[in-house]
Amino acid sequence: MSLTVDHLSFSYGTRKILDDLSFEVAPGAFCALLGPNGSGKSTLVKAIAGVHRARSGRVAVEGRETAGMGRRELAKVVGYVPQAGDAPFDLSVREAVMLGRTPHFGLAPRAEDRARVEESIVRMGLEELAERSMSELSGGQAQRALIARALAQDTRVLLLDEPTSALDLRYQIETLQLVRQITREEGISALIAIHDLNHAARYCDQVIVLHDGRITADGAPAEALSAPVLRTVYEVDVEVAVGEEGVEVRPRVDAEGFTRTGSRLDELEADGTVRAGRIVGAGQTVHSGQTARSVRTEQPAATSTAAAR
């Protein structure tokens, strides 16, 4: 196994962010990390990248535990692509990609470092832009430069923290295709934190769903992306269609927040049934499901099945 995470836990102070996570990503596999905001996706990615040091549990890359490695050694096996952010100073694309070679050279880059940088630039289709400054690039181009930077780092594991969130549809697809292609060809393991369920289903081999710092589902897209799981995790009624083109997730909510069966979203139980709403005193809430939302209905709604497929 290329990336193995075993009983990993992490907390900020007393607040537990990651709670006993265990999973594996095979060599050449592209794994999606899904989950609502605050579920711990970013923290998990950073814990594996060594940006945060985990409190307990172990992470291993090709059987070697990362805890025993120095920072620089770890940087040679695990690469990390953050969201495209603003740099305070301007740099050419080539110089930016060279940053990825930081763990590999001493004082100045050697010929091998330069060769690897050129290779990554070609790989990400940035030849025309290599002399341009990073600030002139569009969002999609800048994100590609960051991926090229991680490629130049020449690691066995590639971690991406929501690289597609700020991109338009075309660049989202392009980025995902590129990462998928790279993982296949280089035999590396890629883990991507991502919000778009359908993109995850289409481009990734494996899907891990995080909820409150725990793994709710882990498996091939068709297994992991089940309607009950997604309802629990996102608190939205969804429909999951498994067709020839793969898995497709559609929210079953109209613009007013009603599900197709006419009941309010808040009343949905995780299994797709609508629970009976009751009026309690103002500010008090009643809930029997896993959701912590208040019940806002005035009338006890008829229990109906919200058509779990």
């Binding site: 950073k46 920072r71 930081t102």
Partner: protein, 362 residues
């Protein structure tokens, strides 16, 4: 997989033309900067009321290094050159270089192009230290070392305090900047309080001290500032790779490149404020060099710290050298303190940079 990798590597073995061009350009700019700096140092020695030619300067330097005899009518020129002019221009250059390098470090480490070596409150603290010594002594006839020591102790103490607090708060950039603002306010108020209670003599001495100048430069000052700068520069170059990662990629990505962000930041900021504290203690408050020097260097040679750090030393040194030369000539024989001149030159230059190079100062 490995075979395709190796094949691709073999194909891209020679560095592409743009890379070689870029490297050549960088080397030329660095060498040119060095040559211009040496020439400017020599020429600026000739500037002043006592007429001294370039040949006299070169002759004096040769005599003082290799030895030799000087004729009786050259004796006074020799004294002016070796005892007044040379220490003066060398101190100006070394101080400018130190402040500029200090500014590069601060801007890179705090990822903010608008900070300077004085952002953490070093200069008001030094001014207070000097003012305190002057007030306690109650005279304006103090030996130079007393005010220098007072300024340096206070500046270094405040730097240590700011860094200590910031380290406890995990070196968050915003914490550092806000602490610097607080320290600046506190020490300006303290200095004002001293000025309010001072008598005429000490008040004059306090105010004079704050005008940064190289008027009373002695070889001792040149040696101390020069040696500290000469030692600090290679140290910063050693960390230039880490500095690049932190400045351009941010803390998280820099960590993922294997950089120990926390210790590197604390260590280099400590070096930066130490440089600034030493310059302020010897020369008084010379603003703008630490802010503008790095930006001029960035425009000329690019933002890569491997080249930026040495070139910023040259650009800052030159800036202060030129400012001092201007200060000595505009209302000659009177001398305008270099701190005032450099603000007059640096301010407009900075505004020009802001307006014309939005990308670089983004």
């Amino acid at each position: 997989m490995t075979t395709t990798l190796q094949r691709r590597r073999a194909e891209s073995a020679p560095a592409p033309a743009p890379v070689r061009r870029h490297e050549l350009r960088t080397s030329i700019i660095l060498v040119a900067g060095l040559v211009v700096s040496v020439l400017a140092l020599l020429v600026s020695v000739t500037i002043g009321t006592a007429g001294v030619g370039l040949g006299d300067v070169v002759h004096s330097i040769r005599v003082s290094i290799i030895g030799g005899t000087i004729s009786a009518d050259f004796a006074s020129s020799y004294a002016v050159i070796t005892q007044l002019r040379l220490p003066r221009v060398l101190l100006a250059f070394a101080a400018g270089a130190a402040l500029s390098v200090s500014g590069v470090l601060m801007q890179g480490l705090l990822r903010n192009p608008l900070v300077s070596p004085f952002t953490l409150g070093v200069s008001p603290a030094a001014a207070f230290g000097a003012a305190l010594v002057i007030t306690v002594a109650g005279t304006n006839q103090l030996p130079a070392w007393a005010t220098i020591a007072g300024a340096m102790v206070m500046a270094l103490a405040v730097s240590a305090l700011v860094l200590g607090i910031a380290t406890a708060r995990r070196m968050a950039v915003a914490t550092l900047l806000l602490l610097g603002i607080a320290m600046t306010q506190i020490f300006e108020a303290l200095t004002s309080a001293l000025q309010f209670t001072a008598n005429e003599n000490t008040l004059q001495a306090i105010i004079r001290w704050t005008f940064g100048s190289v008027n009373d430069a002695a070889w001792r000052d040149v040696l101390i500032v020069g040696i500290v700068t000469a030692v600090a520069l290679p140290v910063t170059l050693w960390f230039s790779k880490d500095l690049n990662a932190i400045a351009f990629a941010g803390d998280d990505a820099a960590r993922s490149f294997g950089v120990n962000v926390g210790p590197v930041r604390v260590g280099l900021i400590a070096l930066s404020v130490a440089l600034a504290a030493i310059v302020v203690s010897f020369c008084g408050i010379i603003g703008f060099v630490g802010l503008v020097g790095p930006h001029i260097a960035r425009l000329a040679i690019g933002a890569d710290h491997r080249h930026l750090l040495p070139f910023a030393a040259l650009s800052g040194g030159l800036l202060l050298l030129v400012a001092d030369a201007v200060g000595r000539t505009v209302i000659a024989p009177a001398v305008v303190p270099v701190g005032i001149v450099v603000a007059f030159i640096g301010g407009p230059v900075f505004i020009y940079l802001i307006l014309t190079r939005r990308n670089t100062l983004k």
